[in-house]
């Protein structure tokens, strides 16, 4: 485990960086990747970001990034808790990661240099402090990347993982001119007409269990097809069941392909979502985690409800 100073020194002494992000990328892994890439290019290094997908709403993150031709020499993983989260890139990178920068307590990546700060609400908080130590000037583009990560990983400063350090970093980034209102609007305040229809449909699927302490919602491939909705629209659904008064564990089942369900779990209070999901081979944070379960719809739903009832005892 190195220090931020150690990391800054490492970055000054190496070159030709390939920065890898986790699959189903979110604002924090992409924001971390592009902020670091912009910072490295600013100090004269060659760098690029590797993503498994790049949803259109995040495209502004790559503004200012120069497309550079080079052979990768130094592999950096950002916000990647374990190698399997690299998705289709797992095999390619799993044994050659040089530096891993992350904020997941459960991080199990094998890397030559590791910096994991589980106190950081967002990985972008670490990247911000690192860029300062690297004497990178925080441009508007860098500030946009970092704010995106800080804001999205805290539910716009709403979740209990938020700290006063998070708020002060956000304040700094606002003063560096980040487009915080635009970012918050795109990430949290904008829903397509189709998304509104989806939410309405999903509200019809709520099942309560354990005296209302567990709520479960689901989407099926049929629902998605009839509403003409893609995977991009699914974000945020997982927060619906936990919001209901009295609910301690909120579960969202999304049919990804026939008889394959992606499960998102959100908990309140002292119930650990990561522990819950680890029973099914998944993981995440104490209040927000996920896993994938294969099986018939009814079987998966009953299994999850039984597991929730046990966890609530």
């Amino acid at each position: 485990m190195t220090t931020l100073y150690g990391l800054a020194k490492y970055f000054s002494e190496h070159d030709n960086y390939e920065i890898i992000t986790h699959n189903y990328p979110d604002g924090d892994t992409l924001g971390s990747g592009f902020a670091l890439c912009l910072g490295l290019q600013q100090i004269g290094k060659k760098a690029r970001v590797i993503t498994t997908s790049f949803p259109s709403k995040f495209r502004y993150l790559e503004i200012g990034v120069e497309k550079q031709e080079f052979e990768a020499e130094t592999i950096i993983a950002v916000d990647v808790a374990n190698e399997s989260l690299l998705g289709v890139n797992t095999e390619k990178y799993k044994n050659i990661i040089d530096v891993c920068i992350d904020h997941h307590g459960s991080n199990s990546v094998y890397a030559k240099e590791k910096y994991v700060d589980r106190q950081a609400a967002a990985n972008c908080e670490i990247i911000y402090r690192l860029l300062q130590r690297m004497n990178v000037r925080i441009t508007r583009n860098i500030a946009d990347c970092l704010f995106t990560g800080v804001s999205t990983d805290t539910g716009c400063f709403r979740y209990s993982n938020t700290t006063s350090e998070t708020m002060r970093i956000a304040a700094d980034l606002m003063e560096y001119g980040c487009s915080f209102a635009y970012i918050n609007k795109v990430m949290f305040e904008t829903k397509t007409k189709e998304k509104i229809q989806l939410e309405r449909a999903v509200l019809d699927t709520i099942t309560y269990a354990a005296d209302g302490q567990c709520a479960l919602i689901y989407t099926t491939l049929d629902m998605m097809k009839s509403l003409n909705i893609g995977d991009d629209e699914m974000e945020g659904l997982a927060s619906i069941p936990r919001q209901i008064e009295g609910v301690r564990i909120g579960i969202t089942m999304r049919e990804k392909e026939e008889n394959v369900y992606k499960i998102s779990v959100r908990t309140n209070g002292n119930l650990n979502a990561s522990d819950f999901c680890s029973r099914f081979g998944g993981g995440g944070h104490p209040a927000a985690a996920g896993c994938t379960i294969k099986g018939e719809f009814d079987f998966v739903r009953k299994l999850l409800i039984s597991a929730a009832e046990l966890a609530l005892k």
Copy 2:
């Protein structure tokens, strides 16, 4: 117009404070009132807060406030943009307000001393800076009150009115030990089962106009009755139509009594919600305002859509 220093001096020289808040009280007017009350009591003054109602979810704000018997001598209005917003207390107080502390640019209250800072995202930001100048120690209870106002008036730091000053004040309050996670959860993340049903019903009422640039939703007394829902549950509905992609003006019509509609208007971009509502005798902020219109449902709805179409031209 006085200064914060002038206000601090005023408060040290007077006593027996009655702090008045606006009707349909929100987190900012109540947070301002109770924080100031706690601060005044801490420096040895007598003070109480007057509310027209006090929803149960805000009850934690009065923790630590001492019930004191005294004849009111000094009347302080907090977060009150005009006297009519005092509701049933309008006649009693409208000519006797000594100090008005507010952040609405449209403030028209008549008071001996006025301090209006329209740069402040929340009135509680002003109260925080004032309490510092009054040498009040920021206790956990005071921090809870102030954080409640700052968080609720910025949609949990999401809206464009948020500033880096807002974020730094929130960081300070977190360091003073405010229960930010509890407050954010209660204010933003908790919905009753009835509220979930209401949202579902309201999503069925969406009407689009002006090529999808205007969206209107409504609730009727019948809906409220059949869902067994009270006025307390209505908060937050107004943000639904503006969230829809492409919508520049989102309108919410709530039937308050037969043929009387409370209208909430939320806008994106350069459309001024306060101007829009002022045509119907209302007002508010540039992006969030309200008014009351009397008339038959169809008439009111058509009137609002016509006005929106005109404003969008």
